[in-house]
């Protein structure tokens, strides 16, 4: 069976000032898979994610989402594509001024011609999916970090998207909540056939959810493969990242040589 490509990134280059953040990334993501983008802090993975959702425009290269080239789209057409995707943010990005229920309901209220009572039911269903039914009337500030993440997730899937993007879904959460979120991502992929794109550097969650993994380093893709292929990789950098070893080709100390010089200045 041929796999349908839902996201295609071709030679994405992005510079911020003099610094090249993305240096020619090529990736294809297939329908229904859970695709993990991993890499160290500052390797450009969040920036890359923002290119995939059309929030940033590449300096050169093209992003196609659900068969549409994002660079050539009018604002209305881009909005139409955006309605088919959901995004869960690192800081959950809930609207502080609205209740949990209103946060989740917002995309529906704005984009779907539905009765208020129908919207309420959908909101309850989505909150049930993330295990937070009954929390509709609380404000986001009354929730813990993990609960906020889950509300953000409920909001991301409220429009029944075809693709859901997750920016560090388990960062800063305790192991149990991380496990719950990982299970949620898997459930959504398997039960609703949603394509999931997850940016993370949490190794435990990478290997428990990924169908395929891409390892990013300094704005380029080092390797793409299944979890087994990544685990058995010959690439020294990938090996080092997976094992979390401080010694290896990826240097933590960028300016080791002139350390003494700087001290003595």
């Amino acid at each position: 069976m041929d796999k349908e490509v839902v996201i295609k990134a071709e030679n994405i280059v992005k510079k911020f000032g003099d610094r090249t953040v993305l240096n020619g990334i090529n990736l294809e993501i297939y329908r229904g898979e859970t695709f993990v983008i991993m890499g160290g802090s500052g390797c450009g993975k969040s920036t890359f994610l923002r290119h995939l959702i059309g929030a940033l425009k590449p300096d050169s290269g093209r992003v196609s989402l659900l068969g549409k080239d994002l660079s050539g789209l009018s604002e209305d057409a881009l909005d139409a594509v955006k309605k088919k995707i959901g995004m869960s943010f690192q800081s959950s990005a809930l609207f502080d001024s609205m209740t949990v229920g209103d946060n989740v309901a917002l995309p529906l209220k704005e984009h779907a011609k539905l009765e208020r009572s129908v919207i309420d039911i959908v909101v309850k269903m989505k909150l049930e999916l993330v295990g937070l039914r009954g929390f509709e009337d609380l404000m986001p500030s009354q929730l813990s970090g993990g609960m906020r993440k889950r509300v953000g997730l409920a909001r991301a899937i409220v429009m029944d998207p075809e693709i859901v993007f997750y920016d560090e879904p388990t960062a800063g959460l305790d192991p149990i909540v991380s496990g719950v979120i990982d299970k949620l991502i898997l459930d959504l992929s398997k039960k609703l056939a949603i394509t999931s794109v997850v940016v993370t550097h949490d190794m435990k969650s990478v290997f428990s959810i990924a169908d395929r993994i891409a390892m990013l380093y300094e704005g380029s893709v080092l390797q793409v493969g299944t979890p087994d292929e990544i685990r058995k990789s010959d690439n020294q950098m990938v090996k080092q990242f997976v094992s979390g070893s401080p010694d290896g080709p990826i240097k933590f100390f960028q300016q080791k040589d002139d350390y003494l010089e700087q001290l003595m200045k």
Partner: protein, 264 residues
């Protein structure tokens, strides 16, 4: 970098800021005028809640400022006018001064400090906590969703506040005139309206409309441009108030000049 270079750089940066702020203004007008035709209305309840916050919420402090300003102008002008035995001219002095100049400007400054700062802080916080980005990912335009309601609220409420400030300030002057200068209350009022023309009121209102646009655009612009966490939000809030103050005084001068030379 020498002094001239730094000055030049500053001017260029200010020019760029002005340009992007104008762009925001035109985007706002676009969503206000064209949005409804594309079936993308601005939510009436969010306009209403912004009007309550910007207008009703600012009433007490605007009234306070205007009341005491009225008293002060009455006393200061009485100090001069009493030498000529022309105390009754305190009445038009207060009325015209407030309507043309002081009520619009002082109300705008109060609102810039209270509402403009709040707008910048709120949108700035939304920016640094990814909420603006979240709106965009949901295909909700932040300008339609956040800027237009605040723009409309100030556009409508600032002139309303100014009219009330006119009346309250005149009342403050009236108290001084009647109880301190012992002027006849009836004569005070007829004298006020004899000299205060319709023109004085509407030029003041034109000013307050311009100030309302300025405050909302500066607040939204600095808020949406916020970068760098809590410190960035603080900087944006300060920048919004300072910029609003400068622009209000600048536009006041320009508009006063315009009315002075065109409507003698």
């Amino acid at each position: 970098m020498n002094f001239v270079e730094r000055m030049g750089g500053g001017v260029i940066r200010a020019g760029q800021q002005a340009k992007s702020m104008l762009a925001l203004f035109f985007d706002t007008l676009y969503w206000l005028v064209v949005g409804p035709f594309k079936n993308k209305f601005v939510k009436s309840d969010s306009i209403f809640s912004q009007m309550v916050f910007a207008g009703v919420g600012s009433f007490i402090i605007a009234a306070f400022v205007s009341f005491f300003t009225g008293i002060v102008i009455a006393m200061q002008s009485a100090y001069q006018l009493s030498r000529f035995g022309a105390n009754i001219y305190v009445a038009p002095m207060v009325a015209v001064g407030l309507a043309r100049e002081l009520a619009p400007v002082l109300t705008a400054l109060v609102v810039a400090g209270r509402v403009g700062a709040a707008i910048a802080a709120e949108l700035g916080t939304m920016k640094v906590t990814e909420q603006i980005e979240a709106l965009e990912t949901m295909a909700l335009n932040p300008i339609r969703f956040l800027v237009v309601p605040r723009f409309l609220a100030l556009l409508i409420m600032l002139p309303c506040l100014t009219v009330m400030a006119d009346m309250i300030g005149i009342f403050g002057g009236f108290l001084v005139g009647v109880f301190n200068l012992h002027l006849d209350p009836y004569r005070y009022i007829t004298f006020s309206f004899k000299f205060m023309q319709w023109k004085d009121v509407y030029t003041g209102l034109v000013k307050s409309v311009v100030f309302g646009i300025t405050i909302s655009m500066v607040g939204c612009y600095t808020g949406l441009k916020t970068q760098g966490g809590a410190e960035g939000v603080g900087k944006s809030t300060t920048l919004s108030v300072v910029t609003s103050f400068i622009l209000i005084i600048l536009f006041d001068c320009l508009l006063t000049g315009l009315f002075y030379f065109t409507q003698k």
